[in-house]
Symmetry: C2
């Protein structure tokens, strides 16, 4: 495949996208957009982009596909900044963790959504920045696209082909189904982990707590080392679905707490067995 | 070291204890106690014990040290069954996850606690049974002993030496400090994981939820595959400390939920940064 691609935000996600396309033989030019010329120069040296542009309008000039891989809190401002430079047929896609907020941002900044293909690669590491990028990040991972009824099919297919070049599998979901699913499987677990680590760190003897940390807690602490700004943005962007998940979880935790309080061994055993059965059934 | 050792409950924990001592050259006889003669025969074949006994009194005859590695719900009954066979100077120790309940069980079954050394190896896997036992299970792991004021020092030292032969590090804590610490670092995280997996499994589309499971959720599902009976016993045995941890956590989760509801980005960011700072500070 060829054609110019612009990547706004050349960090772990955007940088790995560029590296993966180049590794797969993509022969169009890949332009990186960013505010920091030195970081763009580093991305060029690493081979993630062919050249960098700090001016958004100049950066998207001539691009057939524009990928937004910026923090969700910056999405609307970046879209507004590059909008005047977009080619008439340019396809705009993104890599944000919440699709409803991207659709709102794109509608506000671009008006028409016919060539907007919201996307979310389910991939990442605990690190950030282009220095952490690598071409295999998306190999075997899922990328969920959430085209709207007005999105032109040709644009969706174009974005699917690009992601498949990176080694990812693509799937389509509605915006609402995506955001509800991710609230349950990713955003809520992160909230629980951040909450636990924070609660323990403010307890009587955090040094001892972390020193004696057993298996269960270790997994939590690893989750809680994720980027705080990204997670604030996710909470704000996916507020409604996350609130629903938090409230449902709280009801469940209350019921479990009551069983502990009452010494209800039969109730606790049934609850733990349901969880283990589901895990073994779905996760093999 | 030598002297006869009796292990009541030759599963993952008891079996690995026997295998580790033998691998380290322990030259006393190791006797396994259990209800199932075939399982004891398997433990002999695997080299975890020298011989098995289904009669508790016969099993502890002549033993200088008795390790209880049975489910916590069976602890009191097993102690009562073997008590009549205990040698006058025999040291009784255990491997249960909750120390307060073991002390209550030992007091009820044995009366005197002078030669009782409550212990808890912070080690295990998702598997159970003697077939899952291996001699390196305790290598580099912590074993917390919680001797009581009346416990004779010689017995504590004897148990410490045995655990160190398995490759573990030993530490001493009070019963109360141990149970509070483990409630926070192990029991509470397991409750949160069981609760989450159970809640999602009973949701609209559990198949999709588990299929799209992202990083955060995968860690939870692994935790939730632990043995339900063991966790029921832990909940009942450490009820008070676990309730305190659950209630403190609920207050924290409520505060976080309110920040999400209010769209309080500054509050959320501060919370996530505190968690990340604590994690990076204590976990390196």
């Amino acid at each position: 495949m060829s054609g110019r691609i612009a990547i706004a935000g050349v960090g772990l996600i955007g940088g790995s996208f560029g590296l993966a396309l180049k590794a797969a033989g993509y022969d169009g030019e890949i332009v990186g957009l960013g505010r920091d010329a030195e970081r763009l120069a580093a991305a060029v040296r690493l081979g993630a982009i062919d050249r960098g542009e700090t001016d958004a309008v100049a950066g998207v000039a001539g691009a057939e596909v524009v990928l937004l891989a910026v923090p969700m809190g910056s999405m609307r401002a970046v879209l507004a900044a590059l909008a005047p430079g977009l080619e008439p047929g340019a396809i705009v896609t993104d890599a944000g963790s919440v699709k409803g907020s991207f659709v709102r941002d794109a509608r506000a900044a671009l008006g028409s959504l016919e060539r907007v293909v919201p996307g979310h690669p389910i991939a990442g590491t605990e690190h950030s920045g282009v220095a952490a990028a690598f071409p295999e990040l998306y190999a075997g991972r899922r990328v969920i696209l959430t085209p709207l009824p007005e999105t032109e099919e040709a644009g969706v297919v174009r974005v699917e082909r690009l992601w498949r070049m990176t080694g990812a599998c693509t799937e389509r979901l509605s915006v609402e189904a995506h955001d509800r699913l991710l609230a349950a499987t990713s955003h809520l677990p992160h909230m629980l982990a951040f909450g636990l680590v924070d609660a323990l760190a403010r307890g009587d003897d955090p040094g001892a707590v972390f020193r004696y940390a057993a298996g269960g807690f270790r997994d939590f602490t690893r989750i809680a080392s994720s980027d705080p700004v990204m997670w604030r943005d996710i909470c704000l962007a996916n507020r409604d679905a996350l609130l629903g998940a938090l409230e449902a979880y709280r009801d469940d935790l209350d019921a479990l707490t009551e069983e502990v309080r009452a010494g209800d061994g039969a109730g606790l055993l049934a609850r733990f067995q349901r969880a283990k059965t589901a895990r073994d059934r779905f996760c093999g």
